[in-house]
Every structure is written in C-alpha cells, then in structure tokens.
Amino acid sequence: MKPLLEYELITAESNFRPITLAEQPMFASIPIEKTEPDPNHRRHWMFATDNEKILAHVYKPDYILKKFKDTVVPVYARSYGLPNLSKDGITRVAKTLIYHTFDYLLFHELFHPVFLPKSEPDKERFDVALKNGIKRAEPHLKDPDVVNKAGNSRNAMWDFFIDTFFFYLSQPENTYGRHFKRIFVQNNETLESITLKALPDGIITAWDVIELADNKPQTLFYPITRGIYSLLFSNSGLLRESVFTYFNDKIKDKIQSSELRNTIITSLSNAVKYLDQDALRRLAIDRNKFIDAITELYDNMGNAKTASVHQYIVKAITEIGMRPEFRYASVGGIIEPLSKYIDINKEERRDGAYIEDQEGQGSEQTSPTQSGGGAEEVLQSLINQNDPDLDNILSSVANDQTQPRTNRRIRLSNLAKDQYYKKNAKEISIRSPITEAVEINLGFRKVPVKINELLLTQDQLYNLPFERLYQFQLETGIQCLFQLSDYQYRYDIYEWKEEPIRDFTYTKSGIILPDNIIFRVDGSGSMLNPGGAEFVGSKSRYDCLMHVLYGITKSTVKAAREMNKQVSVVGVNYSSSGKTKVSQPVELQMFCETPNNNCKGVLLNPGCGSTYHDISAYQAAYKDLRPGKTLDITIADGDLDSSHDDSIAEYRKILAKPENTGLYFPIFQEGRFALRMKLLTKEKSNLVYRPFLNFNELQAAATDLIIQYARAAERFGKA
C-alpha cells in the first residue's frame, strides 16, 4: 500500500517539472529527494535545499493530515465558500490543501538558488544589511547579540522575500500562475465544488498554521511575521482576516494590538525607507503611495476593497526584492521594527525548513565547508564583506563571555577570535638558504627517424603517398625515394619521433617540516592579565602568544602547501589542576582554515587558572599522531605549580625517542622548572631551550625552528 500523501507529493512534482522547465530551465532537472515515512522522526516533514537538490521529506503523513483537518481546514474553509463540510469533505479538502502546499513548498525551495540567496556574495550582503538594520534599531545592543539576532532572523527574511515572489508570480495573470492554471484546467482540478484555476488562496500560510497548532510560540518574531504573511499572502479579505486572527490569537496576551499594528505597518513601510528617489523611479514605486497602501491594507484587511492596494504592495515588494541592488537596503529597513522581537539564542525560522545535521551548533567543525549556525555565517559574511565595523565586532564577539557558555556562543566566539588573529597576526616570512640544481624539461621536439627501407618495382610506386613524401622532403631536405635502376626503386620510410629538450635550474630547498607539531601553552592567570578570558586585543601575554601562534601557522601552512606535506597539529592548554585540555590531532590546513576545529577550541580558550601540568597530558598529546617526526613546543611565562620531577620524567620519556624534538621557551622570566629544563639539554641533544625576553624575539625565532627543526639544536641550542 502506498504511503499516505505520496500521491499528493508525486502530483505536486509532476506540476513542478514542466513549470520549472519553462521558467527556470537551468534548474529543470534539479532532483527532488523523497523519503519513507518515519513515525519516530522529530519532525513531521522537512522541506529544504542545498541548491543541488530539493529535499521533500514527509515523515508523519498521518499527523500532517490530522493537523490540516483539525486546524487548517476550519481556518480556511469558510473563506473558500465551504462552510459546512462533512467528515469526508474535510478529509478531501485537507488532502487537496496538502497537495497544493507541496506545490508551493517545492517552488519555495527552488526559489532559494534562483532568487535568494542566489550566491555567496548575495548571502553575505544580505547578512550585512540585516546586521545594520538591527544595529540601527537597537544601538545599545552588544555586538555579539547583534550578530546573533542577524543570524537568527536571516532565514526568515529570505523566506519573506521568496514567499512574496512566489505569491506574486503564482497569481493567475502572472507567469507561474498561468502555468498552474493551464495544468489545473487540463486536469480538472477541484476543491470540492470549486473548479481550481489557481493555487488555493492563502496556501503559503498553511504550513505556519499547523506549526503553531500544537506549539506555543516561544518568541514574538515568528508569529508577528506570520501576521505579515497573512496580510500579504491572501487575496481574499475574509481569509486574510481569518488567518491573521489565528496568528494574533497566539500572541495577543503578549503584545498589545496597537504595538502589533505599529510593528507590522512600520516593518512593511520600511521596505522603501532606504531606497532613494532614483531607485524608486526605476522601480516605478511612489514612496507615499506605498506607505499609505500598507496602512490601508492593515486597517481594512478583511475588506474586499483592499484588493488593488494589496496587489500594489505585493508587486512593489517583489520588484524590490528581485533586484539585489535594492533588496539589501530594503531588508535593512524591514527588520528594524522586528529586531527587538528576535530571539538572541535561537534561530527564528520554520522548523523543518532546513537540512538537519548541518547546523553545526555545538558540534566540532570537521571540514571547512561545514556550515556553522546562522550567527556564525553572519559573522563570516561581515568578514568576507570587510564590514567597516569589523575590528570592533570581532574583538567584541571574541571576548563575549555571556553566560551560559552554550556551544553556540563558544563557536561564535572562536570564529571571532580566529578571524581576529588571522587578520591581525603578522606572518613571519620563511627563510631557506640552500639552493640546488635540478633538471627541468623544456618540452619536446620532433625529429625524423628512419625506420624501414623498401625495394619497390614500378607498379608498386602507385600506392606511395606522394604528396606526403614531397612535403617531408621540403621540410627536412631528406630524400626518401631513389631510383636504383630502370625497374627498381628504394623507398626509405621515416617516422617523426618526439624527444625531450632538457635543461637545469637552481631551486631553493632545505625546508624540512616535521610530521607533527604540538603546542603546549600556558593558559594560567598570569598569561591572561589584564582582561582574563577577554584576552583578544587586550595586549595580555596570551593575546601576544596568539599573535605568535597565528604568525607561525600562516607561514608553516605555506611551507606545507609548497612541499605538499601533511602535518598534524595538537594543542595542549595548561591551567589549574584537572583543567588541562588536550586536543585531537588536526591536519595543519584544516587547523588553519577552520575556526572551530578541536585544536583551535583548546588553544583559543585558556583556563585562566594556575600553571599546573597534568601528567597525563604529556603522553596524551602523542596519541594518534602521524608516524614520523614530532616537534613538541612549550611556551610558558612562569614557574610550574605542579611536581617538577614528574614533568621532567615525562619530558625524558618523550625525548628518549630520536624522532621527537622538544623546544622549551620561557617568556619574560625563567623559573626553577625552566632552569631544570635547561639542565636537561645537557643530556638530551634533541631538546632546545631558549628563553625570550619578549614576544618579538620569539616571533623571529619560532618559524625558523619549525621549518629547520632538524638544525634547531645547531641554530638555537646554545642560549
């Protein structure tokens, strides 16, 4: 037996294909992935896209049907002129509305890659516009919260524009609407007694009606924007008012009707607030007329006479939103009055309207392309667009210590820290003095080589390739055909052969990278004064240490790329007892490119306690390393609070292996433990001890040590 609602989904797809072929040929064959029902799934359905395919997953068709029957049909039926439906009639209407909701949802997903966001730069500029709008609306909001709000509302704002486009284009007199009309008439589509020549009115909001059927809205943003939806996405005044009332009922105890009115009217009016006269002229929009139309529509939403203003508004927003050069200014205005309602901690979007397991909230980032949540993406957008406020935002977000420290906040902070140091840390250039001669191939040349010799009689001459022989003779001056006697000829056969042209040149060499690098850093309180955990840009020792670490990483990554070598990086962050953190090994390129990999998570989040070396951390850092050479670097600014003997013993074990090299760098001062390490160098030739009075000296020496570590002892062994 076929799953419930499978027929509706397949029929919706059969409508989708020819329309897409006609209107968006480049996307005509976009795959639509369906799935089997899953009663245990968290969601009842999921519609989403990754731009390569559309996911149309219906997990709980029974639930969906029930919700449509119980909630959607009662809200919609009267305005369709179907007030007294029988039980079977309700089921039929529900299934029809579900079918057409699928129609809408498939196009909604298609419209993401087609219209918004249609590219990465488009997405980024949209994010910047949102951030600016939120900042204008709430100038006292901390930057991390601005970023969070922008990230939490971006999906909803994409959807707002896309749904406006779809509503406009699917009107019977417009392109998609004409296609639907043709299909529905051809197939005799009906909604009970009504012959359908267009999608059922208000179909866009059906999803949201069932989303709020059982779930109380946690913030006001979603229901307020659904109020906007009900205003814009119904042609019938009766339905508009019915759906608006439905959403309003969900929040009327939380927001005054006057505030709601003001918010919605201002939000929609602001669609033109930041468009200049030239833009408005190009769009053929009159600013005052538009604003008046909004007010009239809201105040008379149930009145059929608002049809023309309604159409005007929808068309105007469509014209604005379709054009990237106008949509950013527009969304920045639209979000302003909505800003205060946006949740700081949670994304405000239709649940089930995104691909799960991609959000990355709290989970380790294992690839550069694994997306973070919306807030991270917004921050990344600000970085890529080089937002004028970027430095302040980065340091502010990096140092954000708002409690509770959720995974989301930590990830965002790590991203900001990572970007801050990538932007500001000076790269240290790689020096390599050794050059050697290497052979190079300049190409090939063709030379004629004799491969055979034939003796021919006169009658056999006929088949010779005369014109080729003639050409060959002209090119080479070599005679191929000889008359030996009256009756005999000799034919020499030549073949062109390629031979290489060789030369040599000098290249720089001598860069030797280890297979593994371990950074052991001191994350104690002394390293973090002043500022504590808010160390980014504070000029504390840890801030300086991060500049050094990133400077080293930049040049080491370059060397690794040139040599096509993979290097594992491990971070160990010492703090108070039991709080030492040891990362998993992360490949150097990954370490560099991703802000939230395991190793960065350790290095960017010091414990701010005492200087205690957990003994287990010594060997733990060696777990899962690559076979080969390991460079173990320790940087500390003071003495050790834990047992010196135990730590020295661990170092001995590490240095007992000839493939390991240790570097110990005391900064600013040499404590007693440091002096014991200095003594250890007399026994262990693979240990280098070098104190540095300041970070500049460390910076200058560090990269050389990594790339020439085989000669480290030779270069730096003597303090």
């Binding site: 072929l21 006609a22 731009n51 890659p113 730069p121 379709m322 054009r323 390739p465």
Partner: protein
Amino acid sequence: MSQENQQTRTIEYIANELLAKGLTKDQIIRKINEAGFLATLEGVSKVLGSRVTPTSLYRIEYDTTNNNLDFKFLEGKGKPPKANSVDVDVTDNVIASLSGKKIPILFEGITGTGKTYTLEQVLDAVYHIDNRRILRLNANMSNVLQPYINGQIENGALKIYINRDAARDILALLVDEENRGDTNAVIGLLDSQVTLPSGERVNLGPLIPQLDINGKSVNVYFDEEKIKSIAVYGAQNPSTASYSGTRATDGAVGNRQLKIAYPNMAVNSGSATINMDAAESNGHVEFIDFYVKQLSKYLGVNLDTLSKLLKPTDSSEEEKRRANSEYLSLHTFAFDPKNIRNKFIKSAVEGADHIINLTGGDGLAQNLEDDLGVAEEWTETLRSYGVDFIYNVSFDPTSEVIKKVDAVRSTFGEPLIERDKTKAIKNAEALALIIWYKQAYANARELGTSPLDEFAQLRSPLTLKDIACAYAIVLNDKMQRKNGASPITVINQAFKDYVTLYQDFATRVYQEPKTFNIHDPDMSIRYLASYMAVSSIKNENKLTPDEYAKKMIVAVNNTSAMLKTLDDGNDTRKLLIARINADLASLAGFIHEYRRELADSFNKVPQNATEVLPRYNALKDLVEKARSDVRTNYTLPRVERTFGI
C-alpha cells in the same frame, strides 16, 4: 567527368515542359529543387527500407504555449510519434546534408553498430560507384588524395599535379576509420579541396548546371566557378583504450565536422533485421527506377521520356555513362545550394545572438564587460546629443544560474568559434528541411494530398526554434566531457530570456500585453527599436543631417532607457539587455556617422506621414552599403544584427 562530358538534356527537357505550363524561371528552379529532393528522399527510403533499420537520433518538440524547446537525444530508441514533435534519424541527416550546403558529418560509435554500413547504403543508393569514394584510413596511410593527383619521378624529384577530371567526378566521400590514420591528410577533403604542397589547388565536386531562360528558349550552361561541394561523411570508433589504434581527433579536423554519436541499435531493432535484404540487388539501379517514377509524377512530365533520358537504353558502358551523367547534372542542379538558401527571421537572429553570448567568449563576466564598455564609449562619443547608454548593472558571476551556465561552458573542448556558428546555420537549414518534409508527409497521409504541395507550403523562413535546435546539436558535439550539464538547458534559458524580454519590451512599447509569436517575421527587439528611431522623423522633411541625427539618436536613447528598466534581477537576462543596449548605442553611433548619407536618403524618399517603412528601408540599405565601405567603425556588426542582416 569533364565539363564537355556532362549531359544536360534532362534539365532542358524538364525546363521546357514547365515553361510550357507557364512557370517562371524561379518557379521552375524551385519546382525542380522540391520535386528532385522528394524524389531522392523517396528513392532512398525505398532502397534502404529493406536494408537498414531506422536509427533515431533526436526528437524536437516545440511547445508553442510556453515557448519551450525540448530537444532529446534518442540514442536509437524509437518513440511513439507525438503532436508538435519531429524525430530525426541518421538517414534524414545524410539526405539533408546532400541537399544543400556542405555539412561534413562524423558518426562516432562502438564497432559493429552499422555506421559505415548505413552510410554506404545511402551513398550506394544515390550515387553510381564512380561518383562516390570510400576511404579507409589506417596507420600506414596510402595516398588519400591519389584519385585526384597524378605523380611521377623525374631525375629523383617527385612531380605531382592535379587530375581535374577526377576532381569533377566525385560527389560524396566516406572516410571510414577516420581516427586511425593521419586526420590532417583529410582536412582538405573536409573542405572539399585538394591542395598540393606546391600550392596547386582544386575544389572537388561537379560543376553546377546553370539555367537561363530567354522567352521560350532554355539554355543550360556551366560556369567553372560554380561547383557543388562534395558531401563528406566520416565514421570512427571512439578514441578510448578499447580501441587502441584510434587517436583523439585533431581540433582542426574536429571543428570542421559535426560529430554525431551513433547509437547501438541491436536491442532496439531486435529481430526486425533478421529478414532484411542484405543488398542482393544494385541499390543505385533500384533507386534510379523509383526516382524517375516519382520525379515524373511530381513534375508532371512524361515518364517514358524521362526514363529514356535518365536510365540507360541499352547495356553498353557508353550509354550507362550518358544516363549517369544526365542524372548527376539533374541531381546537382536540383541540389544547388543557392536554390535552397533560407533566411532567418529577425527573432531567430536575435535569439541566436543570445545563445552565442551565453556559450561563447572568454567568460560571461567578460562578455558583459565588453558590451557595457561599448555602451559607455558610445555615450562619451555622442555626449553632444545628451544621451546616456550607460547600463549600471550589478551582475553576480557566482549566482547559481551563472554557475550552471559555466558548468556547461566548461565541458567544451574549445571555445565557440566562427565555424561553430556556420555549422549551426547549416544545421538549422538541414533540420528545418527535415521538419518540413516530415510534416509534409504526415499531412499528405492525413489529408490525402500531395507531399509536394504540402512541402511547398511548409517552406518558410527559419525561426528561433530551428537555430536553437541546431545549436543544441553543435554544442553537444563540443562537449569534451560530461558533468551532468546539458547545453540544452542553456539554450532553453536563452530562449526564455529572449521571449520574456521581448514580451516585456513590446508590452511597454505598445502599451498592451504582447505575446511572442515564433513565426512572426517582425517580432524583434532591435527591429522595434530601430523602427521607433525612424518613426521619430516620420513627420519631418528636409531636415539637416544634424537635425535628423538628433531626433533619431534621442529616440534610440529613449528605447535604451526603457530596455534597461526591464532588468528584473535575472543575471542571464542582464547579459541580453547589455548586449542589445550596446547594439542600440552602436546604432546611434552609426546614425551620427552617416547622418549626411541618411539625410540624403530620407530627403529622396517621398514623405508619407503614415508610412515609416520606406525610410526604414533606406536606413537598412545604408547599413548594407556601409559593409562595403572602407572600415572605420568596427561596431558595424552590431548595427547589422539590429537589422537582421
């Protein structure tokens, strides 16, 4: 066959018969062309019916409601016929290529699928063995040009020269196993030429008989310069590891031919070939028999008389040669490319231009920049007129739509070149011809009418559909690797961009909704724009050159401004707008440069307030004339395509 040996009595006889029926010279030529074509087609079908399974290649379906082209590669799988669609098979392609301009076709497919066999059967049917050649290339090349050259050794030095009679004897050439030999040796043959290293050259093919009618007197003569190019076909296996003797096709050879993937029909034809006649009889004799019968029917001439001319009256070699010569003269005359030259209507020219823009050039962003630059520079030059053609556009080369277009472009082995465009034009003509005759036979069967009458009625100027289908084939041929992207999506995108832009533009101009009609010869954005420019001076007379120029250039500028407002955010549409805008700016520039000549022309045209066309045609004539002037303005091609020239 030398000129003096070519027999033309058949042509004279037919021409006299038709002249007696009151037909004009052009009508006679057209009638012989159409009747000859259908008679050839039916003759080939008769012979091949029992020997060759039809091998379906493409289905062309045009949805007039959506203005959507659906072009499918059938890969040998026959489908039930469908309304508004035409299926094209291998034989159609071969016959269409025989009938008109040279389209060297290369069939590539795995061994044993019937590529060579099918081609041989078609050529055997249409031509006597002396008039077609089959070359089998291999690594130890024998002299591919040997039939056309003579050589001897004099004092150890080779002396070779061209055999001109042999060059005139050949009408078709099949190069088998093309990529197993040195394909550079066949480059000349693909161009229908033999060129010796000494520089001596001859064009291969028969002389085309020329018809002259003076009153009631019919004269058929030959012009040494008018030669019908030979039809060249190639067959080869793909250059993959399983065919170790094959090589990759050289670019210069590859882009001279249209490569068609030859499908494996074994399963699709199934056991239908079990009882197929394995060519026991002489295909050409059977063909001539049927050809003569059909020809006499279509031309309305006496069958006996025609038979005596075209078939040998006895078994002597001399008589066979004579009859063959008559046939070849008639065949060559009927298939003179000049008689089947087709014009493309304006929207076809415009739509093709957008396809070229989306698939050619160094990149879409570069193409856009070039067009924007032209508009900007003309704005600067024409500053004194107070115009502004500058198009401030925000184009996103990273948008998903553009990425998909780029994905198609990235599969091309080489960029789009002039030769590809020429191939597309010739293919469009061939496809149009195929569609016409298929439709003609379907109508004739349905209505009980004559295929010839149906065919004559269906012939019309070529449309955007024809050129779009042709580009689908040409661009598919250019794909060197498959990445899931199909050039048909780009063609449909171009189609959609053009049709919707036209509709939006025309709706603005006419102030009422306008729907695109693919057959309307006057539907074209550039045509509308140039028409409006001339319309701006329709009530004016005896103006100075500067006055004419000012009015017209301002009108063009207004049109440009209107066009730019139609930017709806769609990136491929922006490319189209930018290109048309740059062309309009170039038109304005042309008006400025040629304002004196324009004023002279306009002032000569009798002024009629209701008629714009005479002055429009005067402008168009000036553009055509400017092509022959010493070049000072290299944006003239932009103006030419405004007029569909």
